[in-house]
Each structure stands twice: as structure tokens, then as C-alpha cells.
């Protein structure tokens, strides 16, 4: 399971394909204050990044750095000021 809700945290683990986008969005809508933990996330599909941009939750970044982590993550949380 790539997207899971546990103890107030939405956990993204392993590769997160486009199909897991729907789950992520519905969990963020149900738990708007949940933290998204990406520590163990592998490759995360653009569709999920798009959801994170729009919902702008607090995020624990992935351990491995990719371009999305580098250029997008730092800006999530300041939604509205950069998009």
C-alpha cells in the first residue's frame, strides 16, 4: 500500500503511482490537518505532487532527494504566494 492513514499521519511509502492519487486526495480532504510523511517514499507521480501543491499539508520530506523534493517541496506551505 503506497498511501495509508495512521495515527493522524498520511504515510506515503515506496513508489506512489498515479492510481494512488485518488486515495491521497480523499484522505487529505477527510483529514485536512494530517501530516504527510514521505520519509520512505520512492518515486512519487506528478499527479500526487499536484495534489500536495493544492492541499498544501505539512510534509515530512523524503529521505532521497529528487527534483520535485528540491524545487517543489520547499514551496508547499506557502500556497498562494508562489502559484
Amino acid at each position: 500500500v503506497s498511501v495509508e492513514f495512521r495515527d493522524g499521519t498520511i504515510v506515503l511509502a515506496g513508489d506512489c503511482p498515479v492510481a494512488s492519487g485518488e486515495t491521497l486526495l480523499s484522505q487529505l480532504l477527510t483529514h485536512p490537518d494530517a501530516i504527510v510523511d514521505m520519509t520512505n517514499a520512492g518515486s512519487v507521480h506528478t499527479a500526487l505532487w499536484q495534489i500536495l501543491i493544492v492541499c498544501a499539508p505539512r510534509i515530512v520530506p523524503p529521505a532521497t532527494e529528487g527534483i520535485a523534493t528540491k524545487y517543489i517541496l520547499e514551496r508547499i506551505g506557502a500556497r498562494g504566494s508562489w502559484l
Binding site: E22, P32, T46, W49, L83
Partner: protein, 647 residues
Amino acid sequence: MDELLAQFIVEGRELAQQAADDLIALEREPRDRQRLESAFRAIHTLKGSVGLFPLAPLQTVLHAAEDLLGAVRSGSEEIDIEAVDPILATLEWTDRCIDEIEVSGELGPGAGRQAEQLLQAMSRTPVMSAGSPPAGNAGENPPWARTLFDACPAAEGPLVAVRYVPDRDCFFIGDDPLALAARVPSILNLSVHSREDWPAPEELDPFRCNLVIELVSSAPLTDVEAVFRLIPDQVTVVSQLAPTVPDPGRRAGAGAPLLTMTVRVDTARIDRLLDIVGELYTAKNGLASLADLLRTVEPGSAVARRAAATQLEFDRLLTRLRQGVMGVRMVPLAQTFRRLPRVVRELSGQTGKKVEIVTKGGEIEADRLIVEGLFEPLLHVIRNAMDHGIESADARSAAGKPAIGSIAVTADMQGDQVAIAIADDGAGVDVERARALAVRQELVSADIASGLPEEGVLELLFAPGFSTARSVTEISGRGVGMDAVRTAVQALGGRVSMSSRAGQGSTVAVSLPTSFAMARLVVLEAGGDRFAVPMNAIAETLRISRSELVAVRAGLAFTLRDRVIPFVSLAEVLHLTSTSGESILLLVVEREGGGRVGIGVDSIGEQTEIMVRPATGLIRHSRGIAGTAVLGDGRVLMVLDLEELTR
């Protein structure tokens, strides 16, 4: 329609028009560097906007046009006139493409072939055959790329900027745009924007891509392009150009974002506002009668006085509101005038007559519908002038005139009307020939014709069916004559007349309102339908018995105060079935040329103050319809032109 595409349709047309204006000006002034730069910028921006959509043939052609103009720009001081024709053809084709996109959302089936022909035409121009700079590098970098390059000031060597606009449905076909972008080597910076405004999270469609990805890389151009080789239509890749010499035509600080105090609004929204104003007027009429009622029932009472005062205040504010909304609809006449040089240029090609057109007063503003509606009559007048008025170069030289003909379109404010004169320096109207033709075409009897003064003969030129053409030509003489001009101008609430001086030319004078005024209308019924007529068209109303009608020649008439007045039934004129019985309700109408006519209707209803808008769409060419009016309950009434209906 997709908002971005809708915006492109508006801007695309403006850019194509701008570039065409510049090119036509360049033909006259081949050394005008500013015009050349302006044309180049317009085509460059146009190409950039096209790149946002899957319109490959259009983009390829515009790219070639940009290259061609770029080559011209880097060449000699003067623009090579031969390069102008294919670029103008490209712009005209672009206009047609935009029309197609507006209707169907995509290019027509023949687009690929047409694009190929245009590309060939451009490649045949001398400047292109002499060798051209590499594609895509003509001119300066687009603004988005400059912004990206500017963000990496410390980088060495030329950079490559990428703007990647993934298809909205790209997730469905397995694309992962960020993963793809990550494969670009040596990324120095990357940013992500939304293509359209982000929706609220609960309205987000997780499977629809709304991203625009921009990045800068220090890798070679070919390595970057290789990453996107499967989706070239979604990506623009540009190489950083060496800083160009500042353009003297550009003001200092022009690189900074330009703050304009304007906003682009869909005209449908303004029309909706105008509809609401119309409804408010109907509500106002109700309020006025309520205030009147109170004055009658409780004269002098506090409540009656307050109602009267409130009503006056409401009136005042409503008038201001209407003026405000009408003001928003005002656009300069230049929007129509600027289309004319292209028309003249095209007609010059067809007739072989060289003609220059000058326009003045383009800054005068009028309602958008009036400015747009003016194009068609102007086109007819100019066609007529070029076909019949302006002589061949030989005849002109023989008459001691400059070889190049001239047409001047001049606008002036006269009171609340705008007067537009279209004057040519041609041969003028041959009054005796026109007189003879009118008789031959049975528009007037020989007796009457011989007694007509010159103005009277010129007036006959506006009669339906009048034609002076010796042969049917490509340009005019197809029965679309001055009567079409008069019909179109009258539909806009204006008047048109003509004057002419033998050997010196003709002038067509058009007088138009600048906006649509409020009119007092009477709602009436005929043949089971409801219509409206302007109050001021009606001299009086009366009721007569059917037995009072007598047959006179082909029609009916009745006697009113010892005068015989022709009678027509409105239902019959409109091809409806009249429902009136023995007793006939009559509107007596004063005709423009003198005399009266009685028009039979079934009933007369309420009076209302309402805005009449010119007829558009299907009913535009219908006879006898002056326009439409929206009633307070949303119903649309046809406003009749009784004068025309009973002609």
C-alpha cells in the same frame, strides 16, 4: 471552452492584426525599423501562444514566418517587399484558423496542406533562398525564457530553457511529467506553475494535469531536446542568446513588468449587465406607477412624498448605471478602421488599381456593436469606390490626377452622432447614366426621372436592385449595392447619403449614434404575436369599422379627416393570420417622405422605456426589424421598423 483557448482566440486575432498593420505600413515605409520590430514581436508572441495548444501546422507556419521576418530584420536597411506577401498570407490564414478553432476547437481538415503551401511560398522568397539563420534563433528569447535565464546569473556558457505544458489528459496515457523533466541533464533551476487557477482541494480532479513546468539546464540543446522527443508539441526549448543591443525604439525600463490598468472582460458578461439594466428600467416603470398611485390615493401624505423622492433617486442612479455600462461597451472606431488597409490592398490586387487609404478619427468611440457593424457597410462603399469610382492609372494620368487613387475615411463627432465620410478621388457618379439606368431598371418612371435634381438621382443609387455595373465583377456588381449599405447603416440606427462631383470623386456620408439610446416603445399584438414599435413612430391611434375600408388600386384605404390614407394589416405584412374582427385598431404612422399610412393591429398593450439593440444573427437581414428589446420578464420582443415594413 477552455479558458486559455478562449483567451488565445482574442489575443491571437489582435496579434495577427497588429502584425498585418505593421507589414502594410512597411510596404509604404520600408525603412521603418519600429514597424519591423513590432511586426516581429507580434508574430513571435503569436507563435508562442499557439505553442500552448496542439496546433502543429499553425505553429510550424508561424515559426517559418518569424524566421523569414528575422532574416529580413538582420538584412539590409530596407525590408524586402517580396517577403511581405507570404507573411501577410500567413496572417490571413492564421485568422481563418482562429475562426475554425473558435467554432470547432481545432484546425480544419485542410490545415496541413495549406500550411505546406504557405511554407513553400515563404521558402521561395529571395531572402530565404539566400540562406537563413537557424530556426528558432531569430530575434530575442521569449520573456518566460529570459526570466529563467535571469534567475541563473552566475552560470557560464549558453543555457537552455524549457517550458513544458503537459496535456491535460497526459496522466491517462501514462505520462509522468515531473519524472520526465527530471531526466533533463544538468538542471540549474526548475519551477512549477498552474496552467489555470487552482481549484479548491475538494474540486480538484486528481487525474487532470494542470501544471506548467519550466526549467533551465546547462546541458547542450540537443541533449535537452532528446528528453522530450516524443512530445515536441508540449514543449518549447530555447537556447540562451547573447545579450542583444538595446532596441532604440524601446523605452528604458521596458523590461520590467508592465502594469496596465485594464482588464479583459468577456463581452457576454457586459451584455448580461446591459440586460439587467434593461430589466431595471422595466422595474423602474412599475415603481413610477406605484408612486403615482400613492399620490392619487393619499395626496400630500408623507408616504406619497417619500415614494416620489425614492423613485426620483432610483431614476437618477439608474441613468448613471446605464451610462456606466454603456461606457464599458465603447470601443474606438479604429478597431474597424484598421481592417480597411488590408481590404484595399487585396482589392488593389484584384482590380489592378493602386489605391491608398487614409483613416482619421479612429480614436472616436462608439458602442462595440456599432463599431463592429460598421465594417460591412464600409467594405461595400470601398468596394464600390474601387470598382466603379477610381479610374485606371492611365485614365487618371490622362485626367491629370496622380496615378495612385485615394480613399479617405474620416470620422468626426457631430453632437451625439459620429459622422463618417468615405471620400474617393475617382471619376464621380455619371448622373445622366445613373438616371437612364434607374429608368431602364424600372426603379422610377422616365417622367419622374427626368425631373429629378442631382441629389434625387444619387438617392436612387440606394434603391434595392440598382446597379451601375457594366458587368458582374469579382468585387461588386453582384447586386450588393448601396441599398445593402443603407440597410446595414439603418440597422445600427444611422443614416447614409451620397454626394458626387464629376471628375473629382464621390463621398458617402454615414451618420451613426455612438450608443443605443433608451426608446419609449409600445407593445402591440398582431396575428397572435407580440411586437414593439417606437412610440415616436405613431402619430395617433384610432378604431374604425371594417366597412370603412375601400379598395384603392391594388390595396385598401380609409378616410381620415377628409384625407384618404392607405391601409395595411400588420399581420398580413408579417405573413401572420390576423385575428381582428369587424372593428379594426389602427396605428397612424407618419412616413419619412411625407404622407401617412394606417396600420391595422389586433391590440395595443403597455408602454415601456427600454433599450433597443440592433438585430443580430439570423434576423439581421430581415426586412422591417429595427432590433430587439428584452422585457423585464426576460422575453425578447422584435422591434418593428414600420417605415420599412410598409414601404
